[in-house]
C-alpha cells in the first residue's frame, strides 16, 4: 500500500495560490493546478507556483481583500477608540470583530460560507446581515462605554456567541451550494419579519409589564395567529413553489429564527431607547437608583435571553439541514441534532430549565459539527467547460 506523498514547498505554494484566488476565479485555480501537475522538476514547479501566487495576489488584493481589510480595521478602530472602560469587555468585543471578519473573509471563498448565491434573496440577506452586524457592534460599543455599575460586560459573551452562530448559519444558507433556494430565503425572512413584532407585542413587556398587545382589540390575541401562521405560510409557499419538503421546513425554521432574534432585538432596543420606562423589578433596598436601574434591566432581560436561546436552537437545526449530507457521519450528526433539539422543548415543558438549556447547547454543538462535515464532500464538481 503506498503512503500518501508529503506535500512539498511547490505544492504548498500552489495550494496557497488557489486558496487566495477570488471565488469567481476558481476555474483559473484549476487551470494552474493542471499545468502544475504536468511539470517535471522541482525548480520549474516552484517557479510556476510562485508565479501563480503572484497572479492570485494581484487578483485578490485589488478587489475584495482591500475592502475586507479596511472594514476590519475600521471595526477594530471603533472598538479601541469607542471608550469601552472594561479591558475584558474590550477584548470580548474585539474577538467578536475578529470572528466576524474571519466569517466575512470565508464568505467570499468557495467553501461552507461562500461564495454568495446568485439570487437576489441571497444577496439581500447577506447585505442585511452585514448591516445588522455593524449595528450590533456599534450598539455594543455604545452600551459598554464608560464606567459600568454592575459587572462589566454582563451578557456580552452570550450575545456574541449567539450572534456568531446566527452569522455562520446565515452565511451557509446564502452560500452558492446551500440547499435553501431564493423562495425559501425570501419567504422565511418575510415570515420572521412579520412574526417577530407580533410575538414581541404578545410577551410581557420588559418581563413584568402587561404585553403591548393588551391595548389592541381583543387584547391582541389574534396576533398569536400571525406568530404561528407566518412561518406556516412560509412553509406552504416554499413547498408549493419548490416542491421540496426540506426547503419548506428550512423556510419555517428560518422564519422562527428571525422571529426570535427580532423579539430579543426589540426588547434590548426598548431598554436602550426608553430607559425611563424601565419597570422597578428589584426591591427598593437593592441599592442606589442607578444600581436598581441596572439590576432592573438585567432582570427584565431574562425574557429576551430566552428568545435568544430558542432562536439559537432553531439556528442549530438550520445549520444541520441547510447543506447536502453526503458523508455517513454528517447524516448521523444531523439525526443526533434533530433528536437533541426535540428534547429542549420537552424539557422546557417539564419546567426543567437547566436540562432545556443543556439540550440547546448540545444541539448547537451537534448542528455546527453537522454543518462543518458537509464540506468538502458536498462540494460540487468543478465545471469542466466554461
Amino acid at each position: 500500500m503506498s503512503r500518501p506523498r508529503r506535500r512539498g514547498a511547490a505544492e504548498t505554494l500552489l495550494a496557497l495560490a488557489t486558496w487566495i484566488l477570488p471565488a469567481r476565479r476558481h476555474d483559473w485555480g484549476l487551470a494552474m493546478r493542471a499545468e502544475f501537475l504536468g511539470l517535471e522538476g522541482g525548480r520549474d514547479r516552484t517557479r510556476f507556483a510562485l508565479g501563480c501566487v503572484r497572479t492570485a495576489l494581484l487578483q485578490a488584493v485589488t478587489r475584495r481583500a482591500v475592502g475586507h481589510l479596511t472594514g476590519t480595521a475600521a471595526a477594530v478602530a471603533l472598538v479601541l477608540a469607542g471608550g469601552i472602560a472594561s479591558p475584558v469587555v474590550e477584548a470580548e468585543v474585539l474577538s467578536l470583530v475578529l470572528v466576524m471578519a474571519s466569517l466575512a473573509w470565508l464568505a467570499g471563498r468557495p467553501g461552507l460560507f461562500g461564495p454568495t448565491g446568485r439570487s437576489r434573496a441571497a444577496l439581500l440577506t447577506r447585505a442585511c446581515g452585514y448591516v445588522v452586524a455593524g449595528t450590533y457592534l456599534l450598539v455594543t460599543v455604545v452600551d459598554n462605554r464608560g464606567p459600568q455599575i454592575l459587572e462589566p460586560g454582563a451578557g456580552v459573551p452570550l450575545g456574541m456567541v449567539t450572534f456568531a452562530l446566527y452569522a455562520a448559519v446565515l452565511l451557509a444558507m446564502t452560500a452558492r451550494d446551500s440547499a435553501a433556494g431564493p423562495v425559501c430565503l425570501a419567504s422565511g425572512a418575510g415570515a420572521g419579519l412579520v412574526a417577530g413584532p407580533a410575538c414581541f407585542m404578545l410577551v410581557p413587556f420588559e418581563r413584568v409589564l402587561p404585553p403591548l398587545a393588551d391595548s389592541l382589540p381583543g387584547h391582541g390575541l389574534w396576533l398569536a395567529a400571525i406568530v404561528v401562521g407566518a412561518p406556516g405560510a412560509a412553509m406552504l409557499t416554499t413547498a408549493l413553489r419548490t416542491g421540496s419538503v426540506r426547503q419548506a421546513v428550512v423556510a419555517a425554521l428560518y422564519g422562527g429564527a428571525v422571529c426570535a432574534a427580532l423579539v430579543s432585538l426589540l426588547g434590548y432596543g426598548a431598554f436602550l431607547l426608553f430607559p425611563d420606562r424601565m419597570p422597578g423589578i428589584v426591591p427598593l433596598n437593592a441599592g442606589s437608583p442607578a444600581v436598581r436601574h441596572a439590576l432592573d434591566r438585567l432582570e427584565a432581560g431574562d425574557e429576551y435571553v430566552a428568545g435568544l436561546i430558542w432562536g439559537s436552537l432553531l439556528v442549530a437545526v438550520l445549520g444541520a439541514l441547510v447543506r447536502r449530507a453526503v458523508r455517513t457521519r454528517t447524516v448521523v450528526l444531523r439525526a443526533a441534532t434533530l433528536c437533541v433539539a426535540a428534547l429542549a422543548p420537552l424539557c422546557a415543558a417539564a419546567a426543567d430549565t437547566s436540562a432545556a438549556v443543556l439540550a440547546v447547547a448540545a444541539a448547537i454543538v451537534l448542528g455546527m459539527l453537522t454543518l462543518a462535515t458537509t464540506w468538502p464532500a458536498g462540494a460540487p464538481a468543478p465545471r469542466l467547460s466554461p
Partner: protein, 103 residues
C-alpha cells in the same frame, strides 16, 4: 466603455503567439515558454483577455490518466482583430528578446 489603451508588450507577445495559429488550442505553460513569460505574468494576461472576451477557453477533452484536464486557450474573433491591430510589425518584442519576466 471599452478601453483603447495599447496592450503591454507582454500582452502583445501572447496575442501574437495565439494569432500564429488561431484555430489551435494552446495551454498555459507551453504558451508561457514560447513567449518567455512566467506564470505570474502570463495568467493575469490570460485572465484579462478572457474577461474582455478576447480569449476563448476550454478544457482538455482527453487528459492522460492521473492528470487533471488542462485549460486551453485560443483567440475569439475579437481577439484576432485585436491581435491584427497591435502586431503589425514583425520586429516586435519577440524579435528583441524575451519580455520582462515576473520573477
Amino acid at each position: 466603455m471599452t478601453r483603447t489603451r495599447r496592450p503591454s508588450p507582454q500582452t502583445v507577445a501572447v496575442l501574437r503567439a495565439l494569432a500564429a495559429d488561431p484555430s489551435a488550442w494552446r495551454y498555459g505553460y507551453e504558451l508561457g515558454r514560447q513567449v518567455g513569460l512566467k506564470a505570474g505574468s502570463l495568467y493575469p494576461i490570460l485572465i484579462r483577455l478572457a474577461d474582455r472576451e478576447m480569449l476563448e477557453t476550454s478544457w482538455e477533452p482527453d487528459p492522460p490518466q492521473g492528470r487533471p484536464p488542462r485549460h486551453l486557450y485560443r483567440l475569439t474573433g475579437a481577439g484576432r482583430l485585436l491581435a491584427a491591430e497591435v502586431t503589425p510589425e514583425p520586429d516586435g518584442i519577440g524579435a528583441q528578446g524575451e519580455p520582462r519576466s515576473a520573477w
